[in-house]
Amino acid sequence: MAAHAAELSGHEQAHGHGGGGPKRSVWLRGSFVRAAWVTLLFGAVGALGTMAVRKYLFGYPAYSQGVVDTFTMGLVGLGFTIGIGCWDYWFGYLIGSHRWVQEDHSSHGAYTWKDYFKVNTDHKVIGVQYLCTTFFFFLVGGALAEAIRAELATPGVQYFAPSTYNGLFSIHAALMIFLFVVPIFAGLGNFVIPLMLGAQDMAFPRLNALSFWMLPLGGIFMLSSFFVGPFDAGWTNYAPLAVHGPAGQIMWIMGVQFAGASSIATAVNFLVTIVTMRAPGMTFWRMPLLVWANLATSTLVVLGTPFIAGSQFLVLFDRLFPTHFFDPAGGGSVIVYQHIFWFYSHPAVYIMMLPGFGIISEVIAVHSRKPIFGYKLIAMSTVAIGVLGFTVWAHHMFVSGMAPWLRLPMMVTTMLIAIPTGIKIFSWVATMWDGVIHLTTPMLFACGFIFTFVIGGLSGVFLAVLPVDINVSDTYFVVAHIHYVLYGGSVLTIYAGIYHWFPKMTGKMYDEGLGKLHFWITFWAMNFTFMPMHWLGLQGMSRRVEDYPAQFGPVNFWISIWAFVLGASTLIFVYNMAYSWWKGEPAPANPWRALTLEWQVATPAPVFNFDEPPQVVGSPYAYGHPGARHAIVTVHEPEPEPAPVPAAVALAAPERREVVMSSFKHILVVANQTVGGEQLITAVKERAAGEPSRVTVICPQNDPSDAWVVNEQEVAAETRERLSHTLEALREAGIEATGRVVDRDPYTAVLDVVESSDPPAEIIISTLPQTRSGWLRRDLVERLRDRTKLPIEHIVVDVEPGRASRT
């Protein structure tokens, strides 16, 4: 059972590799040592193998830069993930290894800092791994940006050859997008979402680990392109320039493939987790808005990312093989590249923004001590942005020479996106109104975000208005817009999120003073850096130029100075995070007095998050309602003497065998988790209203597939409490009701009653909704209908208030 593993001591777990077999040497177990030699081996096989195939099978010259590079990098990536240990469990299963055990939690949870440098399947560890890795690439991308600003500080060509300069801004954008903004939200989501849902982990923890370990490969490939002739076609990598580019092109394309695969796998993981692993009572309309945002984002990733992967493969084929997808001389089309590319890359803008919206919704509600304003409208606007996001891609192509008629519909859809976005902004401000606002660092970042994002959103409307876009597209106006939405939007929300969840992630408080200093410098430097770029663009300064007319010199100098300040402000954050993690004040479990589930567990969170699935009973944002709760979390006492569980105990009160009143209609009610809910009681009352009836309620307890049940006695005691509540309610309504908790599985329990001396005339089966009901998953209702031939009414109960608990 999963939760039993949680009770093992950390020491046992950390070293319980391979189901307790002898510990393998460092060369053979998943580690950086093994990763190094396996990667080298795969790289060598890739390079030599490709050359051998070329030479001996096809008779070509052995070395061809593009082909050999591509296969070598593909195998290097595969070799690294194998070497580090992402595939060990699957390989073990595949070959029937004696080390393989089904419930292998040996790589789950972090007990020392070293565990953060290994393959780990704990979503919380993976979340932190993501955050640190992506932030590293943020710093590298930022350094590239500072190099760009140094070059642009004065007109003319100063420090970099044109090809290097083109590489700087291309890799800057690519790192920031593919290695920072997109994956850091996956990192935050990884840490927070399963906790928020009341789940023990993500749906596919091992896939989750693989997703993470593919990511740094993408970044390293992209950066290494500087050594072979930098990738210099801009992050959009438009063909045919992409096809003609230097050798670094291939490194970049392979980097995008790894980052993209990582992104898709994570998104699938999030989707399955959110849809299937919500705690009981967590209806869609009770999900925190960050979960909604992640649901929409993951859908966009799954549907969109294959398009960029495809577009880059086509570029690769045009380069390596005699294909002509984008070569007009060979019958190809140049513009089709842009359609495929933007079909991903516009939704990518929302992939980079929606999770930030979710973070802001959490932060603002919690730190304003007020329910989020217009919860449903915000959730629906998130979905609307996701849907509309797929209908606007060609607004990047208003001057591309695509079919002219296509511009107007794309303009309309683009402008429509302003509406759900506006709804969110207005709702956030309305949430703050009349609140009790604690201006902590995350809240300051959230407020700063609203300020900058309004500007970014409005400049987006400028760009949507077609005639205006014709003038400013591909100028610094676009550079200003993208940085207002990605820095002023995404990055500020990322900071808000990291500060907000830092106490839960590390168990330490960050330094509030440094946090506020970081905010104010970042906020002003960001606006001073990017605001003047609007003007430059309006004047007609192209983006992606190394040299520009002297008239723009002073403004560019100003921008460069503030860009350096902005870069320096990031170091305050790095220092604050590192030092606070190391020596910060210990954080309480719920420093913000938040209602959502991630704050209801201990800090640091237990390895499997929850001892029992929490019972969600209300809105995640019911601030201001005294005593309101989002969920009831049951925490097991640390040392319950593991009392032997009686094999089969009639757990219920002594059966009330009264006189059988055979003239009364006998209704059998079968319910377990849902017993005690008002819905069930009402349904039984209705059913029993027509004629004299008596009711027998049975609660079948034994559910072999239910891995959640960890302490049968306690669960049975709770069920008994709810059962007696139900029976009381029915008796009050004048219905003769008896009930018992039975230690059988539901199917057998029903048959027991049907075949007894007192068979029922009708059966009511009450379950949780389809997605969460173990009974429905085993088709209980249909099977019983077939077997008993009795009328069976099936009631779906979604809410179960009044469930007893110890918190």
Partner: protein, 343 residues
């Protein structure tokens, strides 16, 4: 203050922003076409809309941050307000009305900007790595810069050769822009309204010479334009020069074809994409010892991949000069480069 009062303050601030838009110096670069005037007007309306929206959001934001901030030790909660249906409908429908309005305005402006006039002048524009060529099909004149008559609509037919990359024909003063795409011909319209000289720039990343890929457009009176066309025709009709001939203006050929990438003091060129041609003699001695400098230059023009100066990547210089330049032009270039304009 009630929400209503804060809202009023926000509207007043938005109005002040609008007034500032009109009393401060213009944000726009020089307007030299009808299209520019219409676009700038639309832009101005967007600024006014933005002024109000920005004021409303930021006024409420800052007022809330100040007014509702928690006093130290205040552990209470705010009011349990979950929403307000009328307000939520309002802030869905009002922005909808605004974007519908701008959608209609944009469509009207676009339609008027792109409606071809019957007497329009057609100019073929070709972007190549890294220079522009302009062709006047009716007069059959080809130049490296644009000359346009004021007041007459121009229809640009823009393209790029099949083996080239995407460029973007952009005249900021006209506010017109369209990609030069290999394999297709794109169109854009401008009606110049102001006599003067303006920049033509490449606005789509096209490789390492991108920021140098510039030309100019002269807007002149119709009379001057006719004069210029006639003069260009005479030049074009001039008999092809004999080898080393003087009829071709070598510096003009250089300026049009080479100067965006190469430095040559004699031609006043300062491009930095390709090797500095003032050092050409040294390079020739280094890379082609024993060969005549003339041959080295000719080879480098016609077959640029044969010898590549170290520090400069291969494959950047177009390989099409052997075809696009006449024999006379190449000869004149060779002479110019060999002598550095000394003779």
């Amino acid at each position: 203050m009630s929400a209503l009062k804060v809202g009023l303050v926000a509207l007043v601030l938005g109005a002040i922003g609008t007034v500032l838009l009109y009393v401060t110096p213009s944000w726009f670069p020089v307007q030299a076409s009808v299209q520019a005037e219409r676009q700038d007007e639309l832009y101005q309306w967007l600024m006014i809309m933005s002024s109000f929206i920005f004021s409303i959001v930021v006024t409420f934001l800052i007022y809330s941050m100040w007014k509702f901030r928690a006093k130290p030790g205040d552990m209470s909660d705010g009011k349990p307000i979950h929403g307000h249906t009328v307000l939520e409908i309002a802030w869905t429908l009002i922005p909808l009305a605004i974007v519908v309005g701008f959608g209609i305005a944009a469509t009207v402006v676009l339609d008027r900007n792109e409606r071809p006039a019957p007497n329009r002048l057609i100019v073929d524009v070709t972007g190549q790595e890294f220079y522009w060529t302009f062709h006047y099909p009716r007069a059959n004149v080809t130049t490296g810069y644009l000359n346009l008559p004021v007041g007459r609509q121009v229809e640009f037919h823009v393209t790029s050769p099949p083996h080239d990359v995407i460029h973007d024909f952009y005249v900021p003063a006209f506010r017109v822009k369209i990609d030069a795409v290999p394999g297709i011909v794109t169109q854009v319209w401008a009606t110049p309204t102001r006599i003067g000289t303006y920049a033509v720039i490449c606005n789509e990343l096209c490789g390492i010479g991108h920021s140098q890929m510039r030309s100019i457009v002269n807007v002149v009176t119709p009379a001057r334009f006719r004069q210029w066309i006639a003069q260009q025709k005479r030049t074009a009709k001039a008999p092809p020069p004999s080898s080393g001939g003087g009829a071709v203006d070598a510096k003009a050929v250089f300026t049009q074809n080479c100067s965006s990438c190469h430095t040559l003091a004699a031609a006043g060129a300062t491009g930095t994409v390709g090797p500095n041609l003032d050092n050409l003699a040294a390079d020739a001695a280094k890379y082609a010892p024993g060969e005549s400098e003339d041959n080295y230059i000719r080879d480098s023009i016609e077959n640029p991949g044969k010898v590549v100066v170290s520090g400069y990547p291969n494959g950047v210089m177009p390989t099409t000069f052997g075809q696009s330049l006449s024999k006379g032009e190449i000869a004149s270039l060779v002479q110019l480069l060999a002598t550095k304009g000394g003779t």
